[in-house]
């Protein structure tokens, strides 16, 4: 949920989510996130893409599930927010 992201994310973090509405870009800007990964090849709202372009927030997509994406990145040595 968005408030949990607000509470937990640090500047420079990467956010993996299934959410696609334009507000995710606001979150990324407010928290200075490095970018957003949208999973399961979910159709992204054009308004989201437009906002991401104007706010310079990178959005990446993948066909994989959120769980697998997180696992993949973790295996590559990227720690989660609760890893310090």
């Amino acid at each position: 949920m968005i408030s949990h992201v607000m509470a937990k994310a640090h500047a420079g973090d990467l956010w993996i989510t299934i959410q696609t509405h334009p507000n995710i870009v606001d979150i990324a800007v407010l928290l200075d996130l490095a970018g957003i990964i949208i999973t399961e090849d979910k159709q992204i709202d054009p308004a989201t893409i437009e906002k991401a372009q104007s706010e310079q927030v990178p959005i990446l997509t993948t066909a994989k599930t959120t769980f697998t994406t997180a696992g993949e990145l973790f295996r590559q040595g990227l720690p989660g927010v609760d890893e310090g």
């Binding site: 949920m1 968005i2 607000m6 509470a7 500047a11 334009p22 507000n23 979150i27 800007v29 928290l31």
Partner: protein, 340 residues
């Protein structure tokens, strides 16, 4: 000029950073009896270009992908032992990076086994490791510099006046999720431009986003007003109803009255007010059921902590004049973690 200074810093770092800080410690090794074809598979699976050969705990040599290719091209598979004739050049773990760089320059191998002073293999170092290590060290430098710069920064410090106040106001419409976060984002940007401390900016950004989405989700619409002073940033988020029947209950983390469709968008987790309380230096929530809700909070930049008490008093004065007041303002300085 700038570039020359940078270069000098990198050179300096090659003496400050030790090989053991950047080397790969998870080293894949083979024995002299390993067959070349097997070694090839190991390298291929790990996507590396060479590995040390260890015999009875002692470093016997290094085998590289080039060695393997030239051997296998001849069409015969031999033991690794056959191909490690040359003396092994190593680095010591406690040597500075500059030492390893010199070796790469002199002998041109792609990798060097790293041993401790007792001769035990403890890692392996490639030019990639060196570059990564230096980049990390530079980044740490940069962060330090940024922190120092921010410590010196101060909200509205370039404005000279006896009493400096900047007032910002934003209209927030009910159920307007398309524009959710606009006010928070604009306020954040303003604070950055005014030179606020990054901690204060972050706390304001989070608290204001939550206040803004609360108005969008729950109210008939409202307004967010921000009063920026060098000593404190004060926010008043008001709406025109329908009000909160039980403010204490609403303040409880996880309590939510958001409808399902709002939750499906990722909002309405019941953590909003808790987030605001965590980020704000002071916070007061008051509501007149059926009429309106008023949320006030302040973020006090680090340098102005001493002013907080005074502010809490004046805020209590503000809320005392209105009824009914169920104030739940806890005076808690929030420290939001920044990446290490």
């Amino acid at each position: 000029m700038e570039e020359r200074r940078q270069l000098t810093r990198v050179e300096e770092l090659t003496y400050e950073v030790k090989i053991e800080q950047v080397m790969t410690t998870d080293v894949l090794t083979v024995t002299p009896e390993t067959m070349m074809s097997e070694a090839k598979e190991l390298l291929r699976n790990r996507r590396i270009s060479g590995m040390p050969v260890v015999e009875k705990g002692r470093l016997a040599g290094v085998i590289s992908i080039e060695d393997i290719i030239t051997t296998l091209e001849l069409g015969k598979d031999v033991a690794v032992r056959e191909k490690i004739g040359h003396p092994v050049r190593t680095c010591f773990a406690d040597e500075p990076l500059a030492q390893a760089i010199r070796r790469f320059d002199m002998y041109g191998y792609g990798r060097y086994p790293v041993v401790n002073r007792r001769g035990r293999l403890v890692g392996i170092i490639t030019q990639g490791d060196i570059i990564h290590g230096l980049l990390r060290a530079l980044e740490a430098d940069y962060h330090e510099e940024e922190t120092l710069k921010h410590e010196a920064s101060y909200l509205l410090e370039n404005v000279e006046s006896e009493r400096t106040r900047l007032f910002l106001s934003y209209r927030v419409r009910a159920r307007d999720f398309v524009h959710a976060g606009d006010a928070a984002r604009q306020i954040k940007r303003a604070l950055v431009r005014l030179g606020a401390h990054p901690q204060a900016v972050r706390r304001m950004a989070i608290a204001t986003f939550e206040a803004e989405t609360n108005i969008i989700i729950h109210s008939n619409g409202g307004r967010i007003a921000v009063l920026i002073q060098p000593s404190a940033i004060r926010v008043r988020a008001t709406d025109t109803g329908p009000g909160i029947p039980d403010v204490d209950l609403a303040m409880q983390p996880g309590f939510s009255t958001a409808p399902d469709w709002v939750r499906e968008m990722g909002f309405g987790s019941g953590m909003g007010l808790a987030n605001i309380r965590r980020c704000a230096s002071t916070m007061h929530l008051a509501s007149i059921p059926g009429r309106k809700t008023c949320l006030e909070y302040t973020v006090i930049p680090e340098k102005s902590i001493a002013l907080r008490e005074q502010l809490t008093r004046s805020q209590n004065d503000f809320t005392r004049n209105r009824r009914p007041i169920i104030a739940n303002g806890k005076d808690r300085p929030a420290q939001i973690d920044e990446p290490g």
